[in-house]
């Protein structure tokens, strides 16, 4: 892959020129909560923040949107009102999350709503500063080699810029004067040093090796019931997880007419109604069954299917779950057959 070098002080000028392509969005922090916001430039962004509360999936797959308008005659597709966006500051785990979403939404029956947003969004990654909740070293998502248009690795004075797509290359060419192809020995040394530094930052204790077997063995483990005692079925874990893709669909009717919209919105398998079928039978009426489904899907099933976990180690479940149920505590509880305090 093409790797270029850019002086750090040139980033604002680059982003300014990139805005010709579309709206610029980046991480901003307000009252200790980080979220992607539409920004004018670099000065408004918080590139030191470790994670946004909601992952960038919300741009490709909004929490709620209209799929069809309908009347008696039938259904008319609603598309086209999606702005062109540049997302700046995505971390490797975020990009790995989007790669998993791509697999789910773009392969075998392509989802046109996701595809349109993906097409109209440029992903510009940025290296990150791990904190004690980051688990990407255990999911092998601490670095990323594909999925982005550009990726900026911060090496103090310079950025090394990975060019991941033709569209990313177009952005570079708009300000070709800011980039250099001349990488030297020092750049390699600095990059090696950076990788060493990043790897040393992880504090979380988590090891996911052998998880598929441990899940299989622990299918009937009382650990699930103990965890279910604590779980509130609030579904926040699904909302903040970069790889949770489940959704529900409802028809909203204009009062007194037969016209309306067919809307799609985020759902969670932690919710009681998730597996209820007509007539009222619930395939997962016990909270323990629903918890097990969530974690089985992340740490066992996806590995069987795609050879890697559906967890990208972003740590959002760690920072969000009000009762401390997350990938780290669940995998530990299953291995030690004991729910930690």
């Amino acid at each position: 892959m093409m790797i270029l070098k850019m002086k750090k002080e040139d980033l604002p000028a680059f982003l300014e020129s990139a805005k010709q392509w579309g709206e610029l969005w980046g991480p901003t922090t307000k009252e200790e909560q980080t979220a992607y916001s539409k920004v004018d430039g670099l000065s408004q962004m918080d590139l030191k923040a470790t994670r946004t509360m909601i992952p960038p999936k919300k741009f490709l797959y909004p929490p709620r949107f209209t799929m069809f308008d309908f009347d008696e005659e039938g259904f008319v597709e609603r598309t086209g009102d999606v702005p062109k966006r540049i997302l700046f500051g995505l971390h490797p785990c975020d990009i790995h999350g989007i790669l998993i979403m791509d697999k789910l939404f773009l392969e075998t029956y392509k989802d046109p709503y996701y595809a349109e947003r993906r097409e109209k969004t440029l992903l510009l990654g940025h290296s990150c500063i791990p904190d004690d909740k980051c688990m990407c070293f255990a999911t092998n998502t601490d670095f990323v080699a594909e999925g982005f248009d550009l990726f900026f690795t911060d090496l103090k004075m310079f950025y090394l810029v990975w060019v991941g797509s033709s569209r990313g290359h177009d952005l570079v060419r708009m300000r070709a004067d800011l980039f250099s192809r001349n990488l030297d020995k020092n750049d390699i040394l600095n990059y090696t040093e950076y990788r060493k530094w990043k790897t040393a930052q992880f504090k979380a204790k988590i090891d996911l090796t052998g998880m598929p077997d441990i899940f299989e063995l622990g299918y009937n483990s009382p650990v699930w019931d103990e965890l279910a005692e604590k779980c509130l079925s609030c579904g926040q874990c699904s909302m903040v997880c970069p790889t949770c893709n489940c959704y529900n669909v409802v028809d909203e009717v204009e009062l007194g007419t037969v016209e309306g919209t067919r809307d799609r919105f985020w759902d969670s398998c932690m919710f009681r109604e998730y597996s209820v079928v007509a007539g009222g039978h619930n395939f997962r009426d016990k909270r323990a069954d629903r918890l097990r489904l969530w974690y089985t899907h992340k740490l066992q099933a996806f590995i069987g299917e795609f050879g890697k976990p559906a967890c990208v180690g972003c740590g959002r479940c760690v920072s969000t779950c009000p009762v401390d149920i997350n990938v780290a505590t669940v995998s530990k509880a299953l291995k030690e057959q004991e729910v930690g305090k």
Binding site: D71, V258, D267
Partner: protein
């Protein structure tokens, strides 16, 4: 482990897989007190022969404003042009569907799902075991086999219902009994009419009448209420039919039918694209597949 079976038809896949096409109800009549039978054809008649499906597949059916849910197809692709399905009054959507009149329209998209493995079943003896609403998807398979009779070996059809009034397609099966290339055995748990001429007792009592079975050369297809599975499976395994040749079709909540919404997930499988037809062997090692109850009506 690899995906069990995802075969996408070569037919042109629509740009928007969620887009329902409008179909007209051309015929409707009651099968029992709470189950209606429907025939539908596309509003755009030119589309009628393009609906290409296999027994065991399902469709997503919607009424604008009421919602959308999966339903299995009861008709056979060997009689093209029309889709047939059975609807039991269960929830809000099925109540609206139940009240649909002839000439009204509904949204339909599909077909979806893996279907019965017809190409593997050809040349083999076939045993179909239907209980209650379970006949809905199995009728598609049975009629398909009868329409291509010379491509299959011995065909046995076992059908159980609670009582004569609850037996779906009763007249149809009494006619099929006349055929000499089909062993059709019907039973009711209880005869409350005094006029029932066939067997009385649970469906498992029919197994005693089967005679010799070439078990290794037999495919069995089962669908019925949860309680039926346990005993029927026992009987089929006792007959010596290999577990991967015992087929069953499952029901789950679905919001998309195309592997996106997540609702029908069972471990790494989606009932909508990897199923709804699974083998008894799948069921044995996928704990959630059948553990907490099997449906009496396959899909919604």
């Amino acid at each position: 482990m690899k995906k069990l079976c995802v075969v996408l038809d070569e037919r042109e896949v629509q740009d928007n897989p969620f887009q329902p096409d409008m179909w007209r109800i051309v015929r409707r009549y009651p099968l029992t007190s709470d189950v209606n039978f429907y025939q539908a054809r596309p509003v755009d008649v030119d589309e009628a022969l393009k609906m290409n499906y296999l027994p065991g597949q399902f469709i997503m059916l919607s009424i604008p404003g009421e919602g959308e849910a999966p339903f299995c197809i009861s008709s056979t692709p060997s009689r093209p042009g029309l889709l047939e399905f059975c609807i039991r009054k269960m929830g809000t959507l099925t109540s609206s569907l139940f009240d649909l009149k002839e000439n009204q329209t509904v949204g339909i998209r599909g077909p979806y799902g893996n279907s019965f493995p017809i190409d593997k079943m050809e040349g083999k003896d076939i045993m179909i075991v239907a209980g209650g609403m379970g006949v809905a998807p199995l009728r598609s398979l049975l009629l398909y086999i009868l329409d291509n009779r010379d491509r299959f070996g011995k065909v046995t059809y076992l059908h159980g219902a609670k009582n004569p009034g609850e037996m779906l397609f009763r007249e149809e099966f009494f006619q099929l009994k006349e055929r000499d290339d089909l062993n059709c055995l019907l039973t009711v748990d209880k005869d409350d009419t005094g006029k029932w001429t066939e067997r009385t007792g649970l469906i498992t009592t029919l197994f005693k009448e089967l005679g010799p079975i070439d078990s290794k050369n037999t495919y069995a297809a089962v669908c019925g209420p949860p309680i039926m599975y346990k005993f029927v499976m026992e009987n089929l395994v006792k007959l010596g039919i290999p577990k991967h040749q015992i087929l069953m079709t499952l029901e789950r909540r679905m919001k998309c039918g195309v592997g996106k919404c997540g609702h029908c997930a069972i471990e790494y499988l989606y009932t909508c694209i990897d199923g709804p037809v699974f083998t008894y062997w799948d069921v044995l090692h996928m704990k959630e597949l059948i553990g907490r109850g099997v449906s009496d009506k396959v899909i919604a």
